[in-house]
Symmetry: D2
Subunit: 285 residues, 4 copies
C-alpha cells in the first residue's frame, strides 16, 4: 500500500539559510523529500515554499512533527501549515440550477481524480436533488431571500461544522455570501466566474463580452472575499470565439471552460499547492 507523505506549506521574509534549514530538518529525521518548490517575490522579498516528504522512515510521529518544527519556524518567523496525504479532505458543494460544474466535480471525485469526500451538497434550489441522490450525496435545500438570508446562512454554517467541512466549492452557486460567512472560511471558499477577470465581473459576463465584441472568452476560479469577483485568482483559461458566436453559443462553449478551470483550482487546493499572499496566489503546479 502507498505510504502517506507530509506536506509543509510555509512563507516568511526571505533570508539566507531557509532551504538549508528546512531540508536539514527533514533529512536529520530521516525523511525522503519527494517534491520541493520555492518562490521569492521580487519586490517584497517574501519567501514561499512547498515541500513534501515520505512519512515512511521519518523518525518523528506525525502528531509531533508540528511541535518539532516550531523552533525552526520561529527562528525564521514563518507562517506555515502541515498536511498529510492520507487525510481525505471534506468538501461541501454549493449549487443552484446549473448542473455542469456540479456533475463534473462529482464525476472526477468518483473516478478518483480529485481526492476528497463530499459530506454535503447545499443549494437554494431543489433542481439538482435527484442527481445528487443518485450519487448517494446528502442534499440540503436552503432557499434564500432577502429576509431569511442571515438565518439560512446560520443553518448552513451549522451544517458545515457538523460535517467538519474543510473546503467550500461554489459550483455556479448564484447567491452572494455575507462577509461573516466568508470570514469563517477565509481562503477556503472557491468560486468559478465565467469571464477572464478582471474583465466582466458581475452577473452577465457573456452578455457583456458579446456587446464588447471580444474575440476570446474566459473563466476564472478564485477564492471568495467580501468584494464580489475580486478574490485571489487560482486558475484562468480562455477560448477563442468569433462574430458568429451568440450569447447562447458563448454560454455553451463556456461550460467546458468553467468546469475545467474550477476542477483544476479545487485539485490544486486539495493537493495543498496554493498559498494565498495578499490579493494573489502562489500556485506550485
Amino acid at each position: 500500500m502507498k505510504q502517506a507523505n507530509a506536506i509543509l506549506l510555509l512563507s516568511c521574509p526571505d533570508q539566507r539559510g531557509i532551504v538549508a534549514s528546512v531540508s536539514n530538518f527533514i533529512f536529520q529525521h530521516n525523511g525522503n523529500i519527494v517534491h520541493a518548490a520555492q518562490h521569492t517575490t521580487q519586490t517584497s522579498k517574501i519567501f514561499f515554499m512547498r515541500i513534501e516528504w515520505e512519512l515512511d522512515g521519518f523518525d518523528i510521529p506525525r502528531e509531533e512533527i508540528g511541535k518539532a518544527f516550531m523552533p525552526l519556524a520561529g527562528r525564521f518567523n514563518m507562517t506555515w501549515n502541515l498536511h498529510f496525504t492520507d487525510y481525505t479532505p471534506r468538501v461541501a458543494l454549493f449549487v443552484s440550477r446549473h448542473v455542469y460544474c456540479f456533475h463534473d466535480l462529482i464525476l472526477r471525485q468518483t473516478m478518483g481524480d480529485i481526492h476528497c469526500e463530499i459530506p454535503v451538497v447545499i443549494s437554494n434550489h431543489r433542481d439538482l436533488k435527484p442527481l445528487a441522490e443518485h450519487f448517494g450525496l446528502n442534499y440540503r435545500y436552503y432557499p434564500i431571500n432577502p429576509e431569511n438570508k442571515g438565518e439560512q446562512e446560520a443553518e448552513e454554517i451549522a451544517e458545515l461544522k457538523r460535517h467538519k467541512v474543510d473546503l467550500i466549492v461554489l459550483a455556479r452557486y448564484m447567491q452572494v455570501l455575507t462577509g461573516d460567512f466568508v470570514n469563517l472560511y477565509r481562503n477556503r471558499i472557491i468560486n468559478i466566474h465565467h469571464s477572464f477577470l478582471p474583465a466582466f465581473a458581475g452577473g452577465k459576463p457573456y452578455e457583456q463580452a458579446y456587446d464588447r465584441g471580444v474575440k476570446i472568452i474566459g473563466a476564472t476560479s478564485h477564492y471568495v472575499t467580501e468584494s464580489l469577483d475580486d478574490g485571489p485568482i487560482i486558475v484562468q483559461d480562455v477560448i477563442k470565439i468569433s462574430h458568429r458566436d451568440s450569447v447562447e453559443d458563448m454560454k455553451m462553449k463556456g461550460k467546458d471552460l468553467e468546469r475545467v478551470v474550477l476542477a483544476k483550482a479545487v485539485k490544486f487546493h486539495l493537493e495543498h499547492r496554493v498559498i494565498v499572499h495578499g490579493s494573489k496566489t502562489i500556485v506550485f503546479e
Copy 2:
C-alpha cells in the same frame, strides 16, 4: 502569371434573395467565385458578406463593375465596397521606441507574408531611424508635445495624403491621436494594446496584471476610435503566466503575443476580411 480577383464586402438589412442576387450578378457576367462567406447578426438581422471572384473571364471591365453593381446594391440598401487583389495597399507605420512590432511588420512585408507597400514611417522619436533606413524606408520624425500636437498632426496628415496612405498601423506608437485625426482615417487605423481588452486599458497593463495576480496576459489589436483602447476589436490572443513572472517577464513574453496579434489584424485588414459594425467587427478569416 496569377490573375487578379475582385473582392466585394457588403452589408444590408437581411432579407430573402441577397445571396442569390449577388452570386447571379457574378455568374451572369461569367465570373468564377473563389471564396464566399456570410453572416447575419442574430438580433438586429443585419446581413454581411465577403465574396471574391476571378476577374479573368469576367465580362465587365474592372472600372465599370461598381456602376454595374449599383442597381442591385440600391435594391437591397447595401453598404459596400469593392477591391482588387492586384492593388498594393499603402501602409504608414507609426512607431515610438519599441522595435519589436515595427521590425516584425517589416520582416513580414519583406518576406511577402503581408502584401503592401510602406511609403512612410512616422515617429515621435529618432531611435528607429537607422533600422528603417537599412530597409530603405522613408522615416519622418515629428516630435510631439502638448503645444505642437495639432500642428504636427497636420504635417503628418499632409505626409499621409502625399503618400496616398490606405492604412495606418500604430506599431507601439505611444501618442494618442486627436479625434480629428481619427475621423479622417476612421476604421483605417489599427493599434496594438498589450492586454486582453477590456481588462487593463491605459498605459500600464502589465503592471496592473501583476498587481491583480492574473494567470493569463493578452494582447488586442483594434481600430482606433476617439475613446482610448475602446475601438472595435480585430484580433486577441493570450498566454499563460504564473506567480513567478515579474512585470519584466510579462513584458518579454508579451512581445511575442503583441507582434503576432498586430500582424494578424493588419493582414486581415489588407485582405479585406474585416467589416466594422458599430463597436464590433466581423472577421471573415
Copy 3:
C-alpha cells in the same frame, strides 16, 4: 416555436455558377438562407458547400425538395444529401470500462448541448450498466472474444438496425470493429484516439509519448475506417505537459482533452457540418 431548417451538403467538380444556381433554387422557392459556407480544394478543384435555409415560407413540401433539386444536382454532377433540423438523430454509444467520455456525452445530451436520442448503449463489459440505467438508457452487453466476434457483431448490427441508428460513437470502446461492420456504417462511426494522430497510433499512446519525451499530448476524433487510427480526422486538440508528468498524469490530463474533442466531433457531425473527402474532412464550423 422555432421552425425547422433544411440543410444541404453537397460536393461536385468546381465550375462557374454553382453558388448562383443553388442560391437561386432556394430563393425562387421563397427560402431564406440562414447560413452558407463553401470551400474549393486548391489542387483537385472540388467544390464543397453547406447551405441552410428556413422551411417556413419555402414553397416546396419537405418530402419533395430532394426530387425538385435533382435536375440541378445532375447538371453539376453533385454528390449531396439533405437534412432537416427538426429530425432528432439516433446515436448508439459503444463503451468499455472508461466512464469519462460516456458520462460526458450523456450529460451534454441531457443538457441539450448535443441534439440527439440515445436509443442504445452497447458494451463488451458490464461496468457502466448502472450508470446507463440511472439515465434511463438501454444498455446491451455483448462480450467479445476471438471466437464469437463475428456472431456478436451480427447481433450488434441487428440491434443498431432495430433502433434505426444514424451514428455510432466509440466512447473509448476498446474493441476493433471488423471491416464488414465499418462498411455498413461508413463515415457514421466516430472514434476518439488519445494522441495527436498520426503520432502514437495504437493502444499505448501515453506510454509512447512518455518514452519519446514530447512536451505536448493530444487527442483526435476521427471517422473509423478499416485501418486502425487512420480514418478522416474531424477534431484535434492538445495540451502542454512537462518532464514532471508521469504516464498516469498524462492519462488524467488527457481525459479532459478526449472528452471535449469527442463531443465536438459528435456535435459537428450531428449538425451536418462535416463532409468526408477521401482521407480528409471539410468541417464547416
Copy 4:
C-alpha cells in the same frame, strides 16, 4: 550593478539528503539561494536539480567553487556542471535561405531578450549575408555538396573552435550534420523542426500534414543527434488549422510557431535550464 549568480545543474541516483547537503553547502559558505528546482524520475529514481545563488557574499572564490563542491558531488555520485550568469555564452547560427528564424534570433539578441554573443554565422548559401552584415555579424559561406562535405565541416569546426563557440543553433539550416560533427557538440546543437515530432519527421512535414488532413500543425526544437529529427525535445507548440489551409498557408502560419519555439529553446539552454537525460529533457522553466 547587478551581481552575478552561480547556477549548478546536477543529477544523481535519488537518495535521502541530497537537497539538504547541497543547500547546506551553499548556506555554510554564506550563499543566498534565489532559485531552486528539482525533479525525480518516477521509475528510474534519478534526481535532477537546478540551484542558483548569489555570488555576492559567497565566501568561496568562483574559480574554487567546483573544487570545493567535488567531495559532496562524489559522495552522491553526481554528474554536474557549474555556470556563472555574468559569462556571455557564444552562439554560432547556422542558416540556409529561410530568413525568419535567423532574423528573429538576431532581433531578440539585439533587444537583450536572449543573453549571448554571436561571433559567427555559418551558411551553405550566400542569401542572408547582407542582412547578417547589416547587423555587424561575421558571415561565413561554406557551400556543401556530397564531395566536399567532410572537408567543409572540418573548416566549420575550425571556425567554431576559433570563436570558442558554446552553442550551435540550426536556424532552418538545410544540411544534415555528420555524426562526427554532432559528437563534438553533443547536447550543444539545437535544431528547429517544422512539425510536432514524432509526427512528420523528414523534409516535407507540411506536405505530409496536408495529405493526412490533420487539424493542428506544430513545431519542435530539439538537440541534434545522429538520428534525423530524433533528438531530445526541448520545446513544442502547435496551432490549429482547417481544411481551408493550403500547404502554403501552413508554411506561413508555421513561421510564427517555428521562430517562437526555437527562441524559447535557445533561451532555456542559455539560462542553463535544460538537462538532457537519455532521449529526453528536464526543462526547469
